[in-house]
Symmetry: C2
């Protein structure tokens, strides 16, 4: 597999434009092999048009055919795992072990979403039969199901070069839904993107999919992304990244003559609440778990716990001492890009200077932007300071956390009520703390997409019941998730067929239920065909 | 029941502000009894705050309690039907018969959505059990369900003073979802709004709901609506009305520091395609049906068919002759407001002047803005003219329609491809026209929320399988419906509970399935509790 550095426009390649960029190894600061050419306006236009053409065909593929495509994509990625991981490691500084795990997750995700398409999990079939006897008018026969919205633009994420990039969750869910995808590769890992993109396009060809079902565009700046989001043939957007980036796309999409939904997963500080009883019982265990969660992947997870509320007391002091020692023993780690590392260092600086906030412990080595290395840090403050300074709620993307001491459950509740939208919220408590936990959980349900009990927020399972979402600014639309099979629903819309003849009804809605779907028939879930 | 003319802020009344307005009888142009005071900024603020307070309690009510509230509301409206219909007739010019039907529909809707809440139809419960054996980490227990988003602002519609206003579909679906509602009454029927609002608030009191679960604000202008949509405690918006009004609210919501979803049902011309075979078999029947659909309620339905594509030929000429005669025999009708009538007349004027468009028939009396009366009109053009002039796709709200002659199925398809998003699209065809119908339906599925076969689009059933939505500009978000039980989902978001102890899980997610819900357990729909 050779890198060409040009965009993939369906089954052909884009222009070798004059505007180009290279990938940088964050561990060394050196440029990696390969020159990547920014997609031209003509390339972007062609990708959108091909996607629209493909939609006319691919959008009508049955679920089993979509599954075959997604399975083929997964197989193909697995067949080239070593090559992909090698390049991704060079481009991101993430370890080979982590990247192998991420590739496995990416393939699992493609297959699970394909399986959901084949089994009709998200068909949403509903049938209301006509009772011809109704007065004054007979009631029509009404049958509805979910259909794909159209071509989707996907923005690759820097922190998951595989699972949330070219073949990641947004691509997998859009393809499962029946939507062609145009990916804007993240500029930090263009080689990985091209390798993966070639395999996806090859899989599409092998499965007889129309060429435009998948395209991949390179860009070092914002032009291509902006053009995609504004393009009238693009009907939805998937994005994982910064709050400012996500908001910019939301604003662009909202200003279109035809506004479209943007599903942006943006920022979250993932508050953790440690109740006194739990600390008393498990101070060291919680400290160890939290330390692992804060430092995992050099803190570069959307679910990284950046805010920890502790009920003060002796147990809290034990917990802080243990956590501080763990932090002090932690080496610095290579971050994804120099830009991310610089932003992290600026965030540490901001916290260090904030009135009433103290650095409680720092890692074995300081951060070093010139080497893209981040040192771990633990900050401490009191709840009064936290409530008085909204800036302390801003995400610092990287391996640091801010512990906030509370003297009562009431103070914890007050802090919880002040939080912005979050991807996750975590509570550690004992059975004896049930009442306090219940109150806290009731508040946190309104703030977060996932509530974790006696665990840690990092580690997002790809399952049916997962929610990786949450009220703004965690995401652009708290009614969505970007992980788990419910993510597919983002790219679907309901359509009702009224009094349609059997020959014209989609399989999902035919009387004899040929696909064996669970359908809502006259208000009752039926899993076999009706009488 | 006495009209007081002041806003309803939970269980108290708003200010008797200096800024006030009256309702006008459109049939006479005379002011009706009652002076209505615009809600002050303090009133609006209080309503939003009360709604947020109420959300903390009402959002946790079980479905059966919500059903009891919605049922009580329906009973109460039925108990005062005569009073409500009398006032609504005076304020809207709609007939008592129509309004009695609309009230019945409103009550049916409240009860159906309440029933859906009680049976957990939209709970969306999913359980992925933990297989502790998984390597390298044990998988957590994940359980997700849909929870209410928070307080919802609802804008009453002019054309459905009951079913899409104070106690209408948006209010019913938000309350069923668990969201408190603040309604901005439509200024054209404030008396009807107050009567209904008082009954809803009284029902809330009787059912022990927190006061802020329902408020109703009066305004003659845009201040109150703007403040509501921008209010940080409001989490979603429901609106039925004009494209310009809906878009203004969308823009306001998108510009908020925390953007929120707006569900606006705005404009649609509801294209009807009459294939040659169907015209040959049923020219007169189709003409009669279409005439009824165009003139129903003086054409003031969102699903009014404003565009009819006919396959030209002898049968089309018969159809046009019959339709023309029916139109000529149709008397003028009273429209809802002078403003709507003026806009209708301007629309007729625009069509009359459009190059290549001819007035084919007009009703028995001309439109008369001074008497708020609209005359029926039938316009005729050719597909080439239609394709060349995008203005012909703009909705003219009222009892007129534009027939577009096509000489082939290909021309019909080309026209279909050019359409904007629609609430509905209709096809009349014979079994022999299956292939052409299939092609046309495939295009129309991408354009509309509901496809009608051999019928007419007016008449929107409140059922599980109904979609009253469609791509922009039919609605703000083609992934939603404002009619049918799926409308409730607009006001819900998913939340996942990870490793939660049984005592803290909502009933919907408890292991023994106490509510007997259909749940997705490890990827399989189960309607009883697991082993």
């Amino acid at each position: 597999m050779q890198l060409t550095g040009v965009s993939i426009i369906g089954n052909r390649r884009g222009e070798r434009s004059a505007s180009s960029f290279v990938a940088v190894n964050p561990a060394t600061g050196e440029a990696l092999a390969g020159e990547f050419h920014c997609a031209s306006a003509a390339d972007t236009e062609a990708a959108a048009r091909l996607a629209e053409e493909a939609f006319g065909i691919y959008g009508q593929w049955h679920g089993a055919k979509r599954r075959a495509l997604l399975n083929r994509m997964a197989e193909s990625l697995e067949g080239h795992a070593a090559t992909i991981v090698e390049r991704a490691h060079l481009e991101t500084g993430l370890t080979a072990t982590r990247l192998q795990g991420e590739l496995a997750r990416t393939c699992f995700q493609l297959r699970q979403y394909g399986e959901s398409a084949a089994t009709g999990l998200f068909a949403g079939a509903r049938i209301d039969r006509a009772p011809p006897s109704r007065k004054p008018q007979p009631k029509p026969d009404l049958r509805s199901m979910l259909v794909p919205v159209g071509p989707v633009a996907v923005f690759g994420a820097s922190n998951f070069p595989l699972a949330y990039s070219v073949a990641g969750g947004d691509t997998a869910s859009a393809l499962a839904a029946g939507c062609p995808v145009v990916v804007k590769a993240h500029r930090a890992h263009p080689g990985t993107s091209e390798l993966v993109g070639c395999l996806l396009q090859q899989a599409a060809l092998e499965c007889g999919a129309p060429a435009g079902v998948f395209s991949l565009l390179f860009d070092a700046g914002f032009e291509v992304g902006t053009m995609l989001v504004k393009h009238p043939l693009i009907k939805a957007v998937g994005f994982t990244g910064s709050r400012s980036g996500g908001r910019a796309l939301m604003d662009l999409a909202a200003e279109r003559p035809e506004p479209i939904p943007v599903f942006a997963e943006m920022s979250s500080i993932n508050p953790v609440f440690l109740l006194g009883g739990a600390l008393k019982k498990r101070a060291a265990e919680i400290a160890t778990g939290l330390h692992g969660s804060v430092t995992l992947g050099v803190g570069q997870f959307c679910t990284n716990p950046g805010l920890v509320f502790v009920e003060s007391g002796e147990a809290a002091r034990d917990f802080l001492a243990t956590l501080g020692n763990l932090i002090k023993a932690t080496p610095a780690g290579t971050m994804l890009t120099a830009g991310i590392c610089a932003a992290y260092c600026a965030g540490l600086e901001r916290l260090s200077r904030a009135a009433g906030v103290n650095l409680a412990a720092a890692g074995r080595a300081n951060s070093d932007v010139s080497k893209t290395r981040a040192g771990v840090a633990l900050f401490l403050t009191r709840v009064g300071t936290f409530l008085a300074n909204r800036e302390l709620m801003n995400e610092v993307f990287g391996p640091c956390t801010l512990v906030v001491e509370c003297t009562s459950h009431a103070e914890m509740l007050a802090a919880a009520r002040r939080l912005e939208g979050q991807l996750t919220a975590t509570i550690h408590a004992t059975p004896e703390e049930l009442t306090a936990t219940r109150e806290l959980a009731a508040v946190l349900v309104t703030k977060a997409g996932r509530l974790v009990f006696n665990g840690f927020p990092t580690g997002v399972e790809v399952t049916h019941a997962m929610t990786h979402g949450g009220p703004y600014p965690a995401t652009s639309d708290g009614r969505s998730t970007s992980v788990g099979t419910r993510a597919i629903e983002r790219f679907l819309r309901p359509v009702t067929f009224q009094d349609f003849p059997a020959a014209l009804l989609p399989l999902e809605l035919q009387e004899n239920n040929p696909l064996g779907l669970a359908r809502l028939v006259d208000g009752v879930i039926q899993t076999v065909s009706g009488p």
